[in-house]
């Protein structure tokens, strides 16, 4: 029992610290409402995704209705309202990547590891996303794997990289 309590306490203190970091960011924007998108970016960076508590906190600090914060958070594709996996794979689906076979990359992931765009593996290890165009058309098809741009991807390689992230 005791250890659980300690854990919870630790989590809590970690969380408080994160809200503190967020508040500092909001302060840097002088509580300006027009900085909402910047602040949500920062919040997502701190928390990994935008959970309801975070949105409420931002709304309260910026003195605006939660509906507006929620409206903005859901309008833009890059804001995630659900937790992401440990590793993220973003497959670029821009035109140049598409004509060079980006859909093959998605197909192999769906067939072999049952992972579709927008989904995370049940164990929370890998999230798969698609991007509109990351501007790396010269090296199409491109993917962004854990924040790193990788060019000229082939299905078997991507599949292997995903499999490497999953427990055997």
């Amino acid at each position: 029992m005791q250890s659980v309590d300690v854990d919870r306490k630790d989590n809590k203190s970690v969380e408080d610290k994160r809200f503190k970091v967020l508040e500092n960011a909001i302060k840097r924007h002088q509580y300006h409402q027009d900085a909402l998108i910047e602040i949500l970016h920062k919040a997502q960076e701190i928390f990994g995704y935008l959970e309801e508590e975070v949105l409420k906190y931002v709304a309260q600090k910026l003195k605006m209705p939660l509906s507006r914060v929620y409206g903005v958070a859901t309008f833009y594709h890059l804001f995630q309202l659900k937790p992401k996996g440990e590793h993220t794979f973003v497959i670029c689906m821009g035109t140049a990547c598409y004509v060079k076979g980006a859909d093959e990359l998605l197909k192999v992931l769906e067939e072999d590891v049952n992972l579709r765009p927008g989904e995370t593996t049940p164990d929370g290890k890998v999230s798969l996303m698609t991007a509109r165009c990351i501007g790396a058309c010269g090296i199409a098809p491109a993917a962004v794997i854990d924040g790193r741009v990788c060019g000229k991807q082939i299905p078997s390689d991507v599949l292997e990289k995903v499999k490497n992230c999953l427990p055997v």
Binding site: H32, Q33, D34, A35, L36, I37, E38, L40, H41, R68, G71, V72, F75, Y76, H77, L78, F79, M93, G94, T95, A96, C97, Y98, V99, K100, A131, R132, C133, I134, G135, A136, C137, G138, I139, A140, A142, R148, V149, C150, G151
Partner: protein, 527 residues
């Protein structure tokens, strides 16, 4: 900071430059293929060869031939190396001592390079984008100084109007006229916004400019602010370009430190500050009224025009919005004069245009050519034709708002008017080569899926129309449609085009209309 000090910074930089400079591409494309490691190894190799007195390794912006990265070029000799691996570094340095090259050399005299006319990209691949001194050494910020001290705002606008520059974001509105409209507006507060929300899939010109020469864009914006009477500016950039954001932030900081941005620029009464606003992944935010809403921190919904942003834009104030490439053209126009700019290009489209050449083409990368260059010259001479020996079927321009140029129209000169006649648009500058293995219905379906997902949902024709058009295209593609569906699709296209609120909806049917115009038989084959 006065002109003398500015020139001194440039001279100091030039004098400190070593005899031989090894340029190492440091833009997003090459970084992803490990150019940073190449640069580190080159530095070590130079040191080991004992050449550090005469040779320096420089991080530079985009060297254009992205498909063959990482690229390294040795100046002033101009030797180009392609697909350089870290282990090639020693060999590249050994060549400087007269040894035979073992690293893969490229042909710097290929039409891909020789047909280019760098104006916007004049510094790209030559200077270190993270050092303001190198930009100043290349003559940077002198046009801004001249504008502030030697020209009235009206003279700047006249020169720009005379140059014939048209907006590079896609629509081709005369830039001088846009500036004049904002300048005429009364009101204390005006804004200048740089649209760096390069959303068209297959286009990366603006990313390359921002990563390779960010100061050029800042200078263009500052000149614009002086001309229209603004004191505050925003760069709205998409979050997908973290490196460009980072370089812009650095550039703004450096310029502020030297008194080139901020209060009393060059000790004159002219103030101008620039802030960065990062988007969050919404294609519609490239539309100017949606972009303004997003800068204000709201959902990126467009609103009806008029009033145009020139009259009532950011927070209801007169606002000038231009795209990255447009701003990047300003400093050279001021420096060389409107007459010089006019002498480049065609009768109605002046100057050069940067294109991102991609798709099924041998040489992919960034090109800047005079307006009026033909599609064939771009695709076949510069691009080297289709990769894997295929045949060009069509060339797509303008992204989801554009259309296709069929193979038999490849001799069309690229300018605003000719492309419009063909039923496509210049767009921001993506050129995607499509070969005979690609089905055109699939291409149309791809773009419609894009528009359907990117529709902001504010107006019904776009929100519902794109979904319906996509459904029909999907039906056709999977051979479940009949001939009446094609008529229905065409009718829907016209309806959505004529009734939508903003450019996204108005242009969403273009890829369908264009493929129906040139490749109708591919649709009919699937019926």
């Amino acid at each position: 900071m006065d002109l003398k000090e500015l020139v001194e910074i440039g001279e100091k930089q030039r004098n400190s430059a070593k005899k031989i400079r090894i340029h190492c591409c440091n833009a997003a494309g090459c970084i992803s293929s490990n150019s940073s490691a190449v640069k580190d190894k080159l530095e070590i190799a130079v040191k080991e060869a004992g050449l550090q007195e005469t040779v320096e390794v420089a991080k530079v912006g985009c060297m254009k031939f992205c498909g063959r990265g990482p690229l390294v070029q040795v100046e002033p000799a101009g030797t180009l190396y392609e697909q350089v691996k870290p282990e090639d570094a020693a060999s590249i340095v050994a060549v400087l001592k007269g040894e035979e090259a073992t690293a893969k050399t490229g042909n710097a005299n290929h039409p891909f390079f020789t047909r280019q006319m760098p104006v916007v990209l004049e510094n790209s691949g030559k200077i270190n984008p993270e050092k303001i001194e190198e930009y100043i050494a290349a003559g940077g910020y002198q046009p801004l100084y001249r504008v502030i001290y030697e020209m009235s705002p009206n003279e700047v606008i006249d020169e720009l109007s005379h140059s014939g520059l048209r907006g590079r974001g896609g629509a081709g509105y005369p830039t001088g006229l846009k500036w004049a409209t904002v300048a005429k507006m009364s009101g204390e507060q005006k804004y200048v916004i740089c649209n760096a929300d390069e959303g068209d899939p297959g286009a990366f010109m603006d990313r390359a400019v921002l990563e390779s020469d960010p100061h050029r864009v800042l200078e263009g914006m500052a000149i614009a602010a002086y001309a229209v009477g603004a004191n505050s500016g925003y760069i709205y950039i998409r979050a997908e370009y973290p490196l460009a954001i980072d370089r812009l932030q650095k550039a703004i900081k450096q310029a502020k430190k030297l008194g080139i941005l901020g209060s009393q620029i060059f000790d004159s009464p002219f103030d101008f500050k620039i802030d960065i606003r990062v988007g969050a992944g919404a294609f519609v935010c490239g539309e100017e009224t949606a972009l303004i809403a997003s800068v204000e921190g709201k959902r990126g919904n467009p609103r009806p025009r008029p009033p145009y942003p020139a009259e009532s834009g950011l927070w209801g104030c007169p606002t000038l919005i231009n795209n990255v490439e447009t701003f990047a053209n300003i400093a050279p126009i001021v420096r060389e004069g409107g007459d010089w700019y006019r002498s480049i290009g065609t009768e109605k489209s002046k100057g050069t245009k940067v294109f991102a050449l991609t798709g099924k083409v041998k040489n992919t990368g960034l090109i800047e050519v005079p307006m009026g260059t033909t599609v064939r010259q771009i695709v076949e001479e510069m691009g080297g034709g289709v990769s894997n020996g295929g045949v060009v079927k069509a060339v797509q321009t303008g992204g989801p708002s554009g259309g296709c140029i069929p193979a038999d129209a490849l001799d069309t000169p690229v300018d605003y008017e000719h492309l419009r006649e063909l039923g496509t648009i210049m767009g921001s500058g993506g050129i995607i080569v499509i070969d005979n293995n690609t089905n055109m219905v699939d291409v149309a379906k791809f773009y419609m899926e894009f528009c359907q997902q990117e529709s902001c949902g504010k107006c019904v024709p776009c929100r519902a129309g794109t979904v319906q058009m996509y459904e029909i295209l999907d039906k056709i593609y999977h051979k479940r449609a009949n001939i009446a569906d094609i008529d229905k699709l065409e009718a829907l296209c016209h309806m959505v085009r004529d009734m939508s609120l903003c450019g996204l909806g108005q242009s969403a049917p273009n890829p369908v209309l264009s493929t129906l115009r040139y490749f109708r038989e591919e649709y009919l084959e699937l019926i």
